[in-house]
């Protein structure tokens, strides 16, 4: 059986004897900057097309205008305030939804009774797209902070719950048997065998959760909010300020990437034992 964890942790490093594309002139000339060639090229083309007049600024602002918008928004202090608000919402949603999902996943992975009691109900709830609750959530909470917290928590909950449960359930039974023979009690068995064994899968859940966290936040801030990056984009739309709208997209992308980098750093620190996170011997 191939697990979710197996796929995402499959070693990406090159093994001896595996196919390695030959190193050509471009790679020798640009070295580590090769991945950035394509996005930079697109931005340059985009700027050219805007300057010549092929793209109307009402459809798409020129990259230079986006940079200008960044400066003006940053100078007024509005940008930083909006990033702070959105960032705080994201972190709060991840903490609340993530903790509940993690604890329930552990409980249902370890306890048969808890699993029977709650799992099928949770699986039923999972089939409802959480963004479909927006009308109801606005009725309940208005457009206040609770609405955003509720939606992001709900969105983050399921990937963490499912992957924690899966991780705990798929810990090597031979290791658990070994632990029992070597006299480990329930708590020691959990701390030494079950939890570390489930950790790679829990991290996969967190990666998924980060994606859903931003998605939910963007939608919630766009539809029902009076602050945050989504709100900044929506109010700019009213004045046809396409440069600010695109700036909001860029900020979302940067925040998403930042969250991913932090998550990945934590993973490779914690999972040093995992062959997929080790440098090949001899390096």
């Amino acid at each position: 059986m191939t697990s979710i964890a197996d796929i995402s942790h499959a070693p990406t490093r090159t093994k001896p004897g595996s196919f390695t594309p030959s190193v050509g002139g471009i790679e020798r000339a640009f070295g580590p900057f090769v991945p950035y060639l394509l996005p930079i090229g697109i931005v340059v083309l985009w700027q050219l097309a805007s300057s010549i007049g092929w793209i109307s600024t009402r459809v798409m602002p020129a990259p230079v205008d986006v940079v200008k918008a960044f400066w003006s928004q940053a100078a007024s202090g509005a940008l930083l305030a909006n990033i702070e608000v959105s960032g705080a919402r994201a972190v709060a949603g991840l903490l609340v939804g993530g903790s509940i999902g993690f604890l329930l996943g552990l409980a249902n992975g370890v306890s048969q009774l808890s699993h029977k009691l709650t799992d099928s109900s949770l699986q039923m709830l999972r089939t409802i797209p959480h963004l479909a609750l927006i009308p109801l959530v606005i009725l309940w909470f208005g457009i206040g902070e609770q609405a955003k917290l509720f939606l992001t928590s709900l969105g983050v909950f399921f990937p963490i719950y499912l992957n924690t449960l899966y991780g705990v359930r798929n810990v090597d039974p031979q290791l658990i048997e070994m632990g029992r023979i070597y006299g480990m009690g329930r708590w020691t068995l959990f701390r030494w065998v079950i939890f570390p064994g489930a950790l790679p899968s829990i991290f996969v859940g967190r990666r998924f959760a980060l994606g859903i966290m931003w998605l939910t936040l963007i939608v919630a801030e766009t539809i029902a909010s009076s602050s945050g990056i989504g709100y900044m984009a929506m109010s700019a739309r009213e004045f046809m300020m396409t440069d600010v709208v695109v700036l909001a997209l860029v900020i979302y992308a940067a925040l998403g990437k930042l969250a991913d980098v932090i998550a990945h750093t934590l993973e490779s620190r914690t999972l040093q034992w995992h062959p997929a996170y080790q440098k090949p011997a001899g390096e």
Partner: protein, 277 residues
């Protein structure tokens, strides 16, 4: 324990010990040295899984410190017997009784070495050995003991390594150190060398034998390799469809020269019984 080893050695006039296995063939066992392991008495042991009766009344007396090997075809019940002895399963009928050298029958410190090393991949080598003590190697006293056990299996320089960086034979040596670190008085082996290559097996057989001679535990060695059983054990039992088909004494001193004609004869006899010839 040192005295035990001394008594098995012969010395030249200059005081240099002559290793017994340098003699042309294996040497007849002169006496059974006193050991520190537990004695084991199995009577009327039965095990049933659903409608299948795997063990059909096993009676067996194992003196303290004996190296007992169990051989037999797949499905003969040898692994089931081992699981019952270390308490992984409960027997359907019959009893298992451990008696310590002082006559007490209190709980036994028994350990098991599996076919797979079963090391915790997220713990380094020394922490894995500390599992055998039920503690973490962050405690300096525990770490000291774990390192000593690693030195015994010649892996002390790998103490900080992740198990995934070790070879199959090295992992199995770590598993052996983990089993030995608490100085068990009963050690069960469930085909521990079955997954290793032929050359590593020979090294590991020597290691298992040396550990047994030094530590003095009672050893139960389940294997499907008859020549391995004959080379290592004091006594070999053939299990066949849940019965003891043969109980054979191997009356030679340790360590033994592999492939000696005396051993080959015993090996042939065991194979004849296993295949019903």
């Amino acid at each position: 324990m040192a005295a035990v080893i001394q008594s098995q050695r012969k010395f030249t006039a200059s005081g240099r010990p002559i290793e017994p296995h340098f003699n042309p063939h294996v040497r007849k066992r002169e006496s059974i040295a006193p050991r520190t392991g537990v004695a084991l008495r199995i009577s009327g042991l039965e095990k049933q899984f659903g409608a299948t009766q795997v063990l059909k009344g096993i009676d067996l007396d194992v003196p303290a410190g004996q190296f007992l090997a169990i051989v037999g075809k797949s499905g003969c019940g040898k692994s089931t017997l081992l699981r019952l002895l270390v308490g992984l399963d409960q027997p359907t009928a019959g009893s298992i009784e451990f008696t310590h050298p002082d006559g007490s029958t209190t709980a036994t410190n028994s350990r098991i070495v599996f076919q797979e090393p079963r090391l915790l991949p997220w713990a380094n080598v020394v922490e894995n050995v500390a599992v055998g003590l039920g503690r973490t190697a962050k405690d300096p006293a525990i770490r000291q003991k774990a390192l000593a056990a690693l030195t015994e299996v010649q892996l002390d320089e790998k103490a900080g390594e992740w198990p995934s960086r070790l070879s199959g034979g090295q992992r199995q040596r770590v598993a052996l150190a983990r089993a030995l670190v608490s100085h068990p008085d009963f050690l069960a082996f469930d085909e521990p060398l079955g997954a290793l290559d032929a050359l590593t097996r020979i090294t590991m057989q020597g290691l298992v034998e040396r550990m047994w001679r030094e530590e003095g535990f009672t050893a139960l060695f389940v294997t499907h390799d008859v020549s391995e059983a004959v080379a290592l054990a004091d006594r070999v039992i053939v299990l066949d469809e849940g019965h003891i088909a043969l109980d054979l004494d191997i009356p030679f001193d340790h360590p033994r020269e592999k492939g000696a004609p005396e051993l080959a004869a015993l090996e042939r006899r065991l194979l004849d019984v296993i295949f019903g010839r």
